[in-house]
């Protein structure tokens, strides 16, 4: 499900089936040298999360990405986010990010860190294959969590 009014209606009726929340965490670098990389990894993250959403539409809710700039306090953001997401009625929370800083932070839920792959220079076919490969990498994390309840 996407974070849209229409999907939200479906969610509210089918709450017991849609028990997983996907939260993309997006680093926006405002230093000129870092902008290209930041744009590329945000493209990658958005492509990947959209793809995951279409595959698991009936089980996952994809949140809008949470963006932050390079000098924001992530420890505080992690704490606030954990507190607020705990209110939401989801059994499993996954954070997806390409920013390695999150792996060492304490958050409620599972942080999935992925190395960013520059998709912009690829043709659509290759891009699709890469995204599918990435999903295959992440998939065990989801299924493990789902079956471990």
């Amino acid at each position: 499900m996407n974070w849209t009014a229409q999907d939200m209606d479906t969610y509210l009726q089918q709450k017991e089936y849609i028990d997983t929340l996907i939260v993309p965490l997006l680093k926006v670098d405002t230093v000129t040298e870092g902008m290209k990389n930041s744009a590329s990894s945000s493209e990658f993250l958005m492509h990947l999360t959209t793809f995951i959403e279409t595959q698991f539409k009936g089980r996952m809710m994809l949140m809008p990405p949470f963006a932050y700039t390079q000098s924001m306090d992530l420890t505080e953001m992690a704490a606030t986010l954990s507190r607020d997401l705990a209110v939401a009625p989801f059994k499993h929370v996954f954070f997806l990010t390409t920013d390695v800083a999150w792996t060492s932070l304490k958050v409620d839920g599972e942080v999935i860190w992925l190395p960013s792959i520059p998709l912009e220079s690829m043709d659509p076919q290759l891009r699709k294959t890469i995204i599918e490969d990435q999903l295959r990498q992440v998939l065990p994390r989801f299924t493990k969590k789902w079956s471990g309840q």
């Binding site: 089936y17 009936g58 089980r59 699709k128």
Partner: protein, 167 residues
Amino acid sequence: MSKKVSRRQFMSYTLMGVGGFMASGMLMPMVRFAIDPVLQKKDEGDFIPTPQKFDELTEMPVRVDFTIKDRKDAWYKSDVSNTAWVYREGDTVIALSPVCKHLGCTVNWGGDESHPDQFFCPCHAGRYMKNGDNVKGTPPLGPLDEFDVKVEGGFVYLGKTKPNTLV
């Protein structure tokens, strides 16, 4: 009988002519609107070519990816990639939509190890038979949708989805 046209006759002919012309000017569009549905072109152009060759199809469903070029969503144009599960039964090609009828996840052929000859939805373990029929006792409430299929020049073309006709 004189062949001469009297002034009165001339007037009435002219009036009838002009009046008729004006009346037809009004009636023509009305008739055109009334029969418009008949004149509408059929959506034949909606079949989308896929890279799947007809000869290479077997009775085992394979995944076929295809792209709908330039789909217009208001002013936003985009290429939409789509997938179908395609197999052959005799000479007919059957293409099923991978969208689970439960909550819209993507199903896979043989995705569940204990049921290798069924479609499997990883979200809530929904299962479908090869013809798309939902296995009773699993969450889905209806059979998988079917694509309109045609074969042209050895390649498989896919059209719109329609409710399953095989079950």
